[in-house]
């Protein structure tokens, strides 16, 4: 099959496809129903439905511009900050429709934390970076409790031993990988239920990447994690389920192993075998 044929077939399949694989899980934490996202005229997410289970790592893969980041940002309503962006559909977190206009995004974002593509520590001290979330949400009654939250979060993020002697140093003085783990510590300091990660390792070197992946593996014990990634090996390493997005459509969902060994959909197969993307 040459490229033109592939594109033609892709378009045909997309317009006529339903998601392949089982979108439902037994014990869902998040239920997404028929989500559409538009940037002005442009449709970025087309009728996506999926469940996200408790304590699982869901990896989202797909070529650039396929809408996986946009989808991720729906889960904590970060798309609200983009003016032209319109989201419709239903999105339940603990049986509450978070797309409802009445939903307050502040507690929602405390419940659904986010780690960004590029490490973005606040230009404050390491301590302040982690303490900021608990402070604004009033999670600590006093300095001792706050210290405990900060130290625990840094510990969980595997950063405590590296920074315990210089908690007053600016967060920006850390290396890239440490900065990203600091951002993860900052996110888990407000004890979220779900952590969204938008290509958290794309700006990191292989060693730092390995550390973050290890961390994700450990975090899954306590949190639900949704991770967007370009590195398919990473998806294979850290996730239990994988969702393949293409041009705004959720093409295929399934257990990670199955997706990478016996993909059902032609597009998925083409992508994971490296024919486009």
């Amino acid at each position: 099959m040459n490229n033109d044929d592939l594109i033609k077939e892709t378009e045909f399949q997309i317009n006529n496809s339903e998601t392949v694989g089982n979108i439902h899980v037994e014990d869902p934490r998040i239920i997404v129903k028929n989500i559409n996202v538009r940037y002005g005229e442009k449709l970025a997410i087309n009728n996506v439905s999926i469940d996200i289970g408790k304590n699982e790592v869901l990896a989202m893969i797909g070529p650039s511009g396929c809408g996986k980041s946009t989808f991720l940002r729906c889960l904590n309503r970060m798309n609200d900050t983009i003016e032209s962006c319109v989201v419709d559909g239903e999105l339940y977190l603990d049986n509450e429709n978070i797309l409802d206009e009445k939903t307050d995004v502040v507690p929602l974002r405390a419940k659904v934390g986010m780690v960004f593509q590029k490490p973005n520590p606040f230009p404050k001290s390491i301590y302040e970076n982690v303490a900021y979330g608990p402070k604004i949400h009033g999670l600590a009654k006093n300095k001792i409790e706050l210290d405990e939250i900060v130290f625990n979060s840094l510990e969980k993020a595997g950063l405590f031993n590296e920074v315990k002697d210089r908690l007053d140093a600016p967060g920006t003085s850390l290396s890239g990988g440490q900065q990203q783990r600091l951002c993860i510590a900052r996110t888990i300091a407000v004890s979220p239920e779900v952590i969204l990660m938008d290509e958290p390792c794309s700006a990191l070197d292989p060693i730092a990447t390995a550390k973050v992946e290890e961390l994700i593996y450990e975090l899954k014990e306590n949190f639900t994690i949704v991770i967007v990634t370009h590195a398919m090996q990473q998806a294979a390493r850290v996730s239990q389920r994988t969702a393949y997005f293409h041009l705004g459509n959720l093409v295929e969902v399934g257990p990670t192993q199955k997706i990478f060994t016996t993909p059902q959909h032609k597009l998925t197969e083409s992508y994971i075998t490296g024919r486009f993307g």
Partner: protein, 419 residues
């Protein structure tokens, strides 16, 4: 090969142009400084004459009341006159005696009055006191009047010169640090005039400007940059107008202030309050534009990070975006304030160009400002005011340098704080 040669020559030439222009700028700047300093440094000294004053009880307190209310009405001028006559017993005749007394500044009697007020027990005693000399004597002592010139070409005639040389021979005339210049307001006599009135006037006006334009400017910038709806026609219109206002000549703002603050709201004329309000109109666009630029330069990822841990939009902006933008905002504000300090045109229009002797006590008292004082003095032909003009320019420059160093300091401090 040829190509490389011409390219290197080009680079070299460009560097030369740069060095040349900087040298020229430095040369002109040093020319300015040298001319101001060479003209003005003498203004930091004043000439005083030592008189042996006899605080005669007959003149001050003939009824021995020791009551200041009565004493203060006495003829202190007579004390000065007696003392001078005593020093030069050979001078006779009314007009000569009057001329003799003129080598002493008219402020001497007030100085004596203040002295007696504070030391009421000196009545009946004699005391040696340094009093200000007249400005012509001051000029002669400082060397601005040439003694060798023929008599009809100098302001001090031969007789006066003889008296002064007598005083010099007795060490009764000397130069002191010019305290008067830093502690008094304007005066028609140059030896009694000072910069303090104008300095306080400028300080009051600038405080009003800062109080008004800093919060309003920053609030506007933050709202327009972070909260205002994007692609909104009204907001775009406001933005275009703010940019235009930054380019409006300052005298227009003065006229606006005259029409609105003075004529409509009937605020006091010549007051630093109105001056500050007019200057803040002028400064606001500068502050808004520079604040917006520095807010815009804060990476959006910082705000996203804050939103991501559940900060509200206001928290994200005020906890994270504004602190990072603060050095830039402060620099912009201080540059705007420095411009306001040097501004005179709008203040002329609202009447801060008056001859004001008293030092203003509040923002509603009539006052003038440093640049206007410079303008007023430069317009006066007396030699004594020429050096004071240069001295006032130096005070203004020191004020400006202080403000700019403050801007640099704050910038460094905030940059260090945020790492």
């Amino acid at each position: 090969m040829n190509n490389l040669k011409s390219r290197l020559a080009k680079e070299k030439r460009f560097r030369l142009y740069g060095v040349a222009s900087i040298t020229l700028a430095l040369f002109l700047l040093s020319l300015l400084f040298v001319s101001i300093f060479s003209q003005g440094y003498t203004a930091f000294q004043e000439t005083k004459i030592q008189l042996n004053i006899n605080f005669s009880e007959e003149i001050l307190d003939p009824n021995k009341t020791k009551d200041w209310e009565i004493i203060k009405k006495s003829n202190f001028s007579l004390l000065v006159k007696n003392s001078v006559n005593e020093l030069f017993p050979n001078v006779s005749g009314r007009s000569n005696k009057r001329k003799l007394k003129k080598i002493i500044s008219s402020s001497a009697e007030y100085q004596l009055r203040d002295y007696v007020k504070n030391n009421i027990n000196t009545i009946g005693k004699s005391k040696k006191i340094w009093v200000l000399a007249d400005d012509d004597v001051d000029m002669l002592i400082k060397g601005h009047i040439n003694r060798i010139l023929p008599e009809d070409e100098r302001r001090i005639d031969n007789e006066e010169l003889k008296w002064i040389e007598f005083l010099e021979s007795k060490n009764l005339i000397d130069k002191f640090f010019n305290k008067t210049f830093f502690t008094s307001g304007d005066s028609s006599e140059s030896e009694q005039s000072g910069i303090l009135g104008a300095f306080i006037g400028s300080l009051f006006a600038l405080s009003i400007t800062l109080i008004l334009s800093f919060p309003i400017g920053i609030a506007t910038a933050i709202y327009m940059e972070e909260f205002a709806p994007k692609n909104n026609k009204l907001i775009d219109f406001v933005e275009v107008n703010i940019n235009n206002l930054a380019a409006v000549p300052s005298i227009i703002f003065g006229l606006l202030g005259l029409a609105i603050f003075l004529n409509f709201f009937e605020l006091p004329r010549s007051a630093p309050l109105v001056g500050g309000m007019v200057l803040s109109l002028m400064t606001l666009p500068t502050i808004i534009i520079s604040s917006r630029v520095s807010l815009k330069s804060v990476p959006p990822s910082i705000k996203e990070g804050a939103l991501g841990v559940g900060a509200s939009k206001i928290q994200a902006v005020f906890h994270h975006v504004v602190p990072v933008a603060m050095p830039g905002i402060l620099t912009g504000t201080i540059i705007g304030m420095a411009r306001a300090l040097g501004e005179s045109a709008p203040l002329l229009v609202i009447g801060m160009v008056a001859f004001i002797v008293d030092i203003p006590q509040s923002v509603t008292d009539p006052a003038t400002a440093l640049p206007i004082q410079i303008y007023l003095w430069s317009d006066t032909p007396e030699r004594g005011f020429v050096e004071r003009t240069s001295a006032a320019i130096m005070v203004l420059l020191v004020f400006l340098i202080f403000m700019n160093s403050l801007a640099v300091y704050l910038r460094k401090k905030f940059e260090k704080d945020i790492g």
